[in-house]
């Protein structure tokens, strides 16, 4: 899941969260594959950010997945002897990796987890 600026959106990206208007009305439900028309509509309605599945936008200067996994390793570097924290570390890393996995466009969107 990645939060991106609406100007970065492209047709085919899949919404990971509902797009809502300022007064909390759902404009477009999660799971929807975006079209150019929808993106134009969001822009017209001043929706600045949307959340999409996978990690389609690579920002310049952003860290790679490998670097981020190593960062987590470093942050937990002083508590390697504490078992529950090692579990916490493992899960944070695994979730990061799973979140970066690109979405398979054809699949029926493996929901849940």
């Amino acid at each position: 899941m990645q939060q991106i600026a609406t100007v970065q959106a492209a047709a085919g990206m899949v919404l990971a969260k509902d797009v809502e208007t300022g007064d909390n009305r759902v404009l477009c439900g999660k799971g929807t594959a975006l079209t150019e028309a929808m993106i134009d509509r969001f822009k017209r309605m001043d929706i600045t950010h949307i959340t999409v599945q996978g990690h389609p936008v690579v920002e310049e200067g952003a860290k790679t997945l490998k670097e981020e996994v190593m960062d987590i390793e470093q942050r937990f570097g002083r508590v390697r002897h504490i078992k529950p924290l090692m579990y916490l570390k493992k899960r944070i890393q695994e979730r990061l990796i799973a979140a970066r996995r690109p979405v398979e466009p054809a699949a029926g969107q493996g929901d849940g987890e």
Binding site: M1, Q3, K17, N24, T51, D71, I72, Q74, R75, F76, G77, R78, V79, I82, P84, L85, Y87, L88, K89, R91, I92, R95, A99, E113
Partner: protein, 296 residues
């Protein structure tokens, strides 16, 4: 502690007691406290008193409606916020709104760390069935109050602390103890106490690095302690102090979290963090785009 250290500690204590640069407790707090003591005061009256300060009122409602509290319905009036959260929480929110205004300008990282910690506290408190999860979230939001005080009152020392964190790759509270003879948790605890915040907020602040010291509120202190660890683990640290601190065994026993709890907690926290990303108490920009904003 050596007499020399003790002396230094006393001097620092004194400097921080006579806080000059910190926002003094907003006058509205003493007014509200007086009102709360009067059995005839209604929540509407208290709400009206807060509403007189438009900016403060807007900030409070923004905080209350943020993901840190996770109310399913939008709370649009101050009187319902007072009923839902209780006066103590509102009081600490007024204090945090004034303190965090400074923090937001000066220390974005600490602001984000605090917001993240509040989110984790909320998720954990609800999962553990704590009777007033909102109070624990508030404690998470202001747990690093002492850092702000030290930075504002003792800027020179604060820089030395930062330097020590970098050179020795240690946690900030460890560097503070070494250089100042006390840490930000203790300082935050005094401040919260001097503002007459309830033990439910004071103890989690003063004991977040050593939750075994908590006497009245051990569970709340354990939650804030662990939330600080989790949010650091997720990458919301503070400046060069990126380290996940050690977990206090006693706190861990109190929390009784199973692996499945950790998994579900992380999922929930991630989800909520999306909502608070970029959360700011700076309401000027929004106020301008919104309707009727009294100017000046």
């Amino acid at each position: 502690m050596s007499p020399e250290q003790e002396q230094k500690r006393e001097a620092i204590r004194k400097a921080l007691r006579e806080v000059k640069n910190l926002p003094t407790l907003p006058g509205i707090i003493s007014k509200l406290t007086k009102m709360a003591d009067d059995p005839d005061t209604t929540t509407e009256q208290m709400g009206r008193t807060i509403s007189k300060d438009h900016i403060l009122a807007a900030k409070l409602l923004k905080l209350v409606n943020s993901a840190f509290y996770g109310f399913p319905q939008r709370i649009s009036s101050l009187s319902s916020a007072i009923i839902l959260l209780g006066f103590n929480v509102i009081k600490s929110l007024i204090i945090s709104a004034s303190i965090f205004e400074l923090m937001e300008d000066q220390d974005m990282e600490l602001w984000e760390h605090s917001l993240g910690c509040a989110v984790v506290c909320n998720v954990l408190a609800k999962r553990l069935g704590v009777s007033d999860p909102e109070e624990v979230s508030t404690a998470g939001l202001i747990h690093d109050l002492g850092k702000v005080a030290i930075k504002m009152e003792l800027p020179g020392e604060s820089e030395q602390v930062s330097a020590l964190v970098v050179s020795r790759q240690i946690n900030r509270f460890e560097a503070e103890r070494e250089l100042l003879g006390l840490d930000h948790a203790e300082v935050g605890g005094w401040l919260a106490k001097s503002w007459n915040l309830p033990a439910k907020l004071v103890e989690p602040i003063s004991c977040h690095h050593d939750p075994s010291l908590a006497k009245a509120e051990p569970l709340a202190a354990a939650i804030v302690h662990f939330a600080d660890i989790v949010i650091r683990g997720m990458g919301y640290g503070h400046g060069p102090d990126i380290w996940v601190p050690a977990l206090a065994p006693r706190a861990w026993e109190l929390l009784r979290l199973k692996p499945v709890d950790i998994d579900e907690m992380l999922a929930e926290v991630e989800e909520k963090l999306w909502d608070v990303k970029g959360f700011s108490l700076d309401i000027k920009a929004e106020a301008q785009s919104a309707t009727q904003v009294p100017k000046g």
